[in-house]
Subunit: 355 residues, 4 copies
């Protein structure tokens, strides 16, 4: 059980910010900054070097970091000492968080495989996929009922009917399911059906949606925005966490770069970097990062070997007919072979695969 | 008056897609692709080269582009011939669109300056800023009542009270105003007060929000997402346009790159590139792209010279006390000097400044 | 033995380029392009669609791709059908190349570990490192005598003295070594001592250097430039290959992105992407990509699992005292543990570790 | 006359580096860092905050910044206080540098236009271009005799013959010329003919070449690498400067981003950012950044308006026949119209155009 943050409280301050003055800043510039810090109840430690004066601001980091110091005369730049997130950090909680999804653990050293079709298209398609992934050893079913499509003309999902099919599949195959939410107005609907709700990459910085999800009592998977730094991603997780929902799992799915052989560039280093900064579990999506079926197996292997807590994989019984992202879905038969590799790699590293 | 697209219609097809086969693709692979095209009512023109066979698919581009061709055996890659957007393209409408914002033109060769505080903080702050920008020659007032903040602990805006203050300032200073929308649930509220509603960079791919805004009868400014290609941005504009709202203005505000001296990298080339691809007006935000007060004037000058239809500038009577983005706001006195430069540059290029 | 390309020959042409005309291109524009193609001995297949005419140019791809088609009236854009590289492609040679480095294989399904200090600093430092990596199971020693340093004030390497120490270590520990070349004027010197010469990321597009290296009879490792696409990287390999040196190994070492938690973003997907496009071996540098000691082990594991032919690792007996890149070097004791993981992962995937 | 840096001297130290310790660093960790600083003759100012201890290192910044502090136990990260460059900074010299190129000023508030063909292809082509740009008002002729080509099969330049033609054109049209150097072995040759030597974007971090150029007594133009941060670019300029060549002009030519409508993304903000950090002149290359003929005019206008000291423009009498980069060259007639706009914009901003 993680220590509970005070409900919507402002974290107490610490060493917050270094304010570096220009080499030609005046004494008045310095006094001005110091006075402004005192106005907001913060301490200022002034350190005069040969060419630079540095003010170390100590106090409530939120109040301090909110002021536009770079707009003050004589200020060259500021350097935050503490990260902008707190509750999701290793400093706040040193041990790993484990998130329970309908009885299945995510985190804590296990490997949890989530698989299924990108979008629910029909009962038949979903059940064929679910049956196959269950048999091959997946622990959680994926399948979306609401799809964010770049084109206004594309298939947008089966909506509530899709959620009902997923719930039916859950009973049939005895595996919890995860589904995406897109709209603050349908968060409750999705949360009512799903075992885990997912915030997609496009919505990672949709604070309206984050706030709604933060109020639900369901585990949340937060995908990294394709343009988000790791710090911003953890910041978004903090948003959800602070609203009261501590069951957050992160999912790396690639960032946008100049390389165009892959849809996005999977930032595999993000896994160990996040594990050092945060106690939240982190998994990898090898399907959407590459956008190519032939990359799913090697990227899944890399994810397991790098130490991710699991993977999220698109499996479709007939990718050619998929209404969404067919080019990246693998076949049930390919998934079966891949699960053998996942188990072999996990065993080689002394980890167990759930399911 | 732009030609009206059929309400929520699917555009009729044309030459849509080139499907390039692998050098070792079989005749069966070829036949399979051709059959699948015929299944969806499209024509297939097959061109056999020495090492590659290329299929040119002609028909409904939406249906054609939706199929996961890369998942077909023997397919190497696909090359879209037509852009994924249609109604916002120069091919659909060759002449420039002009959008009217409370009686003020945006587009059509004029230069329209929008200025004011990033966030409405108080009646006094707003009115001091509005009075100053009006006097210096701005045509439209900016000011937000809802703010998307990276941190859950930051100031989130005055909400409806802010909108009422903006409406009051509109009367007082006789200038229409633009304000941001964040949440599909408050789109109607903002649209009720504002003369133009703005979709911020973080929400450019928030299709839920785009759809709501597309149903309003108010001009929309669509900022470019910081990770969006120009094509994706025009695609998002198509989303709004197709829902029935044709009064769309684009706003370039910088993209995310590795350079860290500026908050984002202003993509100044996007202005002429967009003007070639689309008939929509395009303006530039020199404040949020750089994130630095000292860059606002040079980037504004660049925007006017490159041919933008206007600029959107943060002006704050006391940047040091700003609750949001103070580091990039310029003072009313700086704005006054800048407006002189804007007028001189516009005159040198034979353009007029509205207001 | 790979098939030999004709010495400095121009590859014979094939289907080379699609030239897409604007929707408003005239018949004269079309005739002009076709004539120009004929002028250079190429064929033009014209395909008229409903809104676009597409010319498929067949012939010598070099001559065709060199012409500035986008500068021709009526041309919208061009789409290369064939990649800009040929001899390093899977089409030219379908089987994997294996490169021999002083008797050690790189490629062909084996895992080859190269390790040692980033820079040779002294006999003692080099020998301690070499002894340790040999004992732990590395197959090839790394160590540089010439260093490209961002700062003109930094340590630039021991130069020839460093090469002599490396040659001495080779005898002592019975392992071939790899060293970097920076300057076309010292290529012969390095090639005279080293078993494999390395072109660093900063020099990937230094064609002067590539040409010199292409004339040597020593295996070459070509690191990916931090801003290079995979296609450009293979293009650089083609440069070396075509000069007559076919013993080329690629090394992925991260690309520049907006993420700043790591020095560069390791593009782990590049490994399977390259393996599909090219027959050349590819290894991964987990030390320079992350720039952080704590990432070396997880990234090495990811590299092995994704299917790389090996890794290149910085090991230093006392990283704190390293003159170059100490922050990323691991200790001999850490390397020993890591080699156990490498062997376990390779075994799990049915691969063997050389050495 | 700028103050002269001591020849190849190490700059004297100042406040150099902040070393931030982990929240759980021990007293021994702290003592270790302090001792190591003293070992190299530096002072350590220790500031203990509530959760972080920060060590401010004062002394020789080169020696201090070279140590791998992140490899020390207990160190979280370091923050450089002083920039890695010194002689090219505004702190070293507050007034603008003006560089003389064959009697023509670059910098100091003037606008200097350099124009001509990308590559010298023949006497006729060069002379037609030179005659046209001279007549339209360009001050310096551009034209390259050595070309760095991505493909080993492309035209590589006329070499010395090209330089002789340029020298002939200089006499004929009375304008100095600028040409690129690629290889340290031909630097002297190019410097012997040209009035200004250029280091291309691909070679910005080719320190071997920078060192050679730094020894010449000819003005140098240093293009920004397409993956270089502004700090790294100034660092490269420092490299040249410190070798004794102070006649350095910077040239912004776009950086690599995910946007693919343009070859590179012109970072127009780099102009004012550099002008604040450095005293060196800075110009813009609107031809190579966009890679598109239709963008040359708008980007040139943006460059002048943003405050650049000049532009470098590809002009070709027959772009369709250009052997290099024809797609971006403008016609003499287009250049003439553009020069009128340049003069109008410069006049509007109170600046004069040289030539």
């Amino acid at each position: 059980m993680p220590p509970s943050p005070p409900d919507r409280a402002t974290p107490k301050g610490d060493d917050s910010l270094l304010i570096v003055l220009h080499h030609d800043a005046t004494e008045a510039d310095l006094a001005h900054v110091v006075q402004r810090l005192r106005d907001i109840g913060a301490d200022a430690h002034v350190s005069r070097g040969r060419t630079r004066t540095i003010i170390s601001a100590v106090g409530d980091r939120i109040r301090i970091q909110q002021l536009p110091w770079e707009a003050f005369p004589g200020v060259e730049r500021t350097v935050p000492v503490l990260k902008p997130f707190k509750f999701v950090s290793r400093e706040f909680q040193s041990g790993d968080s484990v998130v329970q999804v309908g009885g299945v653990d995510v985190g804590g050293g296990h490997v949890t495989v989530m698989a299924g079709p990108c979008a629910v298209e029909s009962r038949d398609q979903l059940f064929r996929a679910a049956s196959a992934v269950k048999k091959a050893g997946a622990a959680i079913l994926r399948g979306d009922a609401f799809k964010p499509r770049t084109s206004p003309y594309s298939f947008q999902g089966l909506e509530e009917e899709g959620l009902m099919l997923l719930a039916e599949a859950r009973e049939e195959f005895e595996m919890p399911f995860i589904a995406e939410v897109l709209d603050p107005r349908t968060v409750e609907l999705v949360a009512q059906y799903a075992d885990m709700i997912r915030i997609g990459a496009r919505n990672m910085a949709n604070f309206t949606l984050l706030a709604e999800v933060g109020k639900q009592d369901k585990p949340v998977m937060l995908k990294r925005g394709m343009n988000a730094t790791i710090e911003e991603w953890l910041h978004a997780a903090e948003y959800v966490y602070k609203e009261g929902n501590h069951q957050v799992v992160l999912c790396e799915r690639g960032i946008r770069t100049f390389e165009d052989q892959t849809r996005n560039t999977l930032d595999i280093s993000a896994v160990p970097v996040v594990q050092r900064l945060s106690h939240l579990p982190i998994i990898v999506d090898p399907s959407h990062s590459g956008g190519r079926r032939d990359l799913v197996a090697p990227l899944t292997r890399a994810a397991i070997a790098v130490g991710a807590d699991g993977v999220l994989i698109d499996v479709h019984p007939a990718p050619e007919t998929a209404l969404v992202d067919g080019a990246q879905a693998i076949l049930p038969s390919e998934f079966e072979v891949l699960m053998d590799e996942v188990r072999a790699l996990a065993a080689a590293l002394g980890r167990d695969v759930i399911g």
